[in-house]
């Protein structure tokens, strides 16, 4: 998919994510909006091998979404690609829907349980070792939050992957700079994150996490690297609550929900600005 189409897809995912939040205000909207373009790049940017009809196909690349609660934006993608039925998007959080405020493994496409933070990299190492032992060329991607890096279990895993040079493992850090109560730098300052991973034997790349093309190119380059490299961390700079001004400027946005009227206004404003852009392009 070219960059214009990916941008359009991201816009659609952003809109659908807001609609999901309207149905299910317990969902974490701000952290779900920081990773929209990363997920779009993974699925529409030619990065992941997947088969929606066979979600556990041996031939798939593995994606673990370790920051599980902040991945409501993954739901529309799963529906769009046919992992889950489109009608699932109609009433998240209701008795008839499998889509909850926090995702679980009843939703096709989620490899593991991630409502609890800090598990993804370790489980990803197990998958990466398993794939190697089976002689598979497939890769393991783990999407984590920067706040999630406070969990000690993450560093147990980071140390081990670095030591063993697990070159089929890629961690993507959605670096939106915020935990629940404050900016990460005010709680446990991990800057520069790249240097921390490098010190444990990882390669690192820094990208703009809202640039689908840059993310897709970085991850595709990882997939085609020659064997014998090291584990890769991609530090993706993002904005928590991206596209919603009231969230973007609020250090407590993680726990904020948007009112239904506010969501309607956001969607209307988005339509208007999109129409104007179209008009501008036409002129």
């Amino acid at each position: 998919m070219d960059i214009t189409a990916m941008k359009e897809k991201s816009r659609w995912v952003w809109r659908e994510t807001l609609k999901i939040h309207k149905f299910c205000p317990e969902s974490r909207i701000a952290s779900s909006l920081s990773c929209v373009e990363i997920l779009v790049a993974l699925y529409y940017g030619g990065v992941l091998n997947f088969d929606a009809k066979q979600p556990f196909s041996e031939d798939r690349d593995r994606l673990i979404i370790s920051k599980g609660h902040g991945s409501i934006s993954y739901y529309p993608i799963l529906a769009d690609l046919g992992f889950i039925a489109k009608k699932e998007l109609d009433a998240p959080g209701s008795l008839d829907s499998k889509l909850k405020a926090i995702p679980d493994t009843l939703i096709e496409g989620y490899e593991t349980i991630n409502g609890s933070l800090g598990h993804g990299i370790g489980v990803g190492i197990g998958m990466a070792l398993g794939l190697k032992a089976k002689g598979s060329e497939r890769k393991v991607f783990v999407l984590v939050g920067d706040g999630e890096l406070n969990e000690g279990s993450m560093w147990e895993a980071i140390m081990l992957a670095g030591h063993h040079k697990l070159d089929n493992l890629c961690v993507i850090v959605d670096k939106n700079n915020l935990c629940m109560l404050d900016y990460c730098r005010n709680i446990v300052d991990l800057e520069p994150i790249e240097a921390k991973f490098q010190a444990f034997g990882w390669d690192s790349v820094t990208v703009d996490g809202h640039d689908e093309q840059a993310v897709a190119e970085t991850l595709t380059a990882f997939k085609t690297r020659k064997a014998g490299s090291r584990s890769l961390v991609v530090v993706a700079h993002t904005v928590k609550g991206r596209g919603v001004k009231s969230l973007e400027v609020d250090s407590l946005c993680h726990i904020k929900s948007l009112k239904p009227d506010a969501i309607d206004e956001l969607l209307k404003a988005d339509e208007l600005s999109h129409a104007q852009t179209r008009l501008g392009e036409g002129a």
């Binding site: 349980i113 370790g122 489980v123 398993g130 032992a133």
Partner: protein, 312 residues
């Protein structure tokens, strides 16, 4: 030096090493804990052995990833650390995840109860039976000798799901050398008595057998080795004639262990037997002096038990 096959971990690993030749989907992950027999396994299967270092949380998570890739995995560590340090990893990635994904992960936990007697309370493991029993889908296995432990390896490989394997750290006399452990049943009646039946697990089964010798004909002994899903009806059948039942475990009592399991069976099967619970009261023990001293301090050594059971 010959490998001592009367030590549970050695017997298990020797059996596992044999099976790894045939089955290339078995993976062994250690949290930097060894055994004499493990040296050979590491040498034979360097691609399917991993030492994750002193990192039990990572150990369980890596085992989860391997299991999701179709491997039958053994996680190996020291009892209090491989059970309670990564308890959340076990809860989320084994107990919870196995409800929706097929997976076969076996936690080999070495040093049950007060096996590491003089190492003190950090190394005593008196909570594991109850904390593991409370986790859905977790099978809890507590053998009393090396032969039973070795027999469990074949069962574990053939049976999907997470399992917690509670091994004594010391060499113990043989009970199952000439006997086949029935894993559908989960227990074995070793002695029948006229008066009281001791239901014991792990090392305490040997104490129960000694008590039975002291009070000939009076004391029955049941070795319970599956502590969550044993055959209740079959157990009830064994207990039906007894007026008294005594549970005996090297674990805290009154909080979900073997004693709770048996009291539930008595209640559900509508049995009239009165139950006495023997084990450790819920407090940490800082005493030196070895295992027998620790047993005496809570009245679960052979002498104390023979007295208690003869008098009541």
């Amino acid at each position: 030096m010959a490998i001592p096959t009367n030590i549970m971990r050695e017997a298990m690993i020797l059996r596992l090493r044999e099976l790894m030749i045939e089955d290339d989907r078995i993976f062994f992950v250690s949290a930097d804990f060894g055994a004499q027999s493990l040296d050979g396994l590491r040498e034979d299967f360097p691609g399917r052995f991993l030492n994750v270092g002193i990192a039990e949380q990572n150990c369980i998570n890596i085992c989860t990833g391997l299991a999701l890739e179709g491997f039958k995995v053994f996680a190996y560590g020291i009892a209090p650390f491989i059970s309670m340090r990564p308890y959340e990893q076990i809860r989320i990635n084994l107990s919870l995840l196995s409800q929706t994904r097929p997976m076969n992960v076996n936690i080999i936990s070495v040093g049950a109860g007060v096996s590491y007697d003089v190492s003190g309370p950090t190394h005593h493991c008196l909570e594991d039976i109850s904390v593991m029993r409370t986790l859905p889908h977790m099978r809890v296995f507590s053998p009393c000798d090396a032969a039973c432990a070795a027999q469990f390896v074949d069962y574990a490989l053939a049976t999907s799901g997470p399992k917690y394997i509670r091994l004594d750290g010391k060499a113990l006399p043989g009970v199952y050398a000439e006997r086949t452990a029935d894993f559908a049943k989960g227990f074995a009646e070793l002695r029948h008595g006229s008066d009281v039946c001791i239901i014991a697990t792990g090392v305490m089964t040997h104490t129960a057998l000694e008590v039975a010798e002291r009070l000939p004909g009076k004391v029955g002994v049941i070795d319970a080795f599956l502590l969550d899903n044993l055959d209740e009806a079959a157990l009830a059948e064994c207990l039906r004639g007894y007026a008294r039942v005594a549970t005996l475990e090297e674990a805290f009592i009154g909080c979900g262990g073997l004693d709770s399991l048996v009291s539930c069976v008595l209640e559900r099967q509508n049995l009239p037997a009165r139950q006495q619970r023997f084990g450790f009261q819920r407090g940490y023990n800082f005493d030196n002096g070895g295992r027998l001293h620790l047993h005496r301090s809570v009245g679960i050594d052979t002498d104390s038990l023979a007295r208690s059971l003869a008098n009541t």
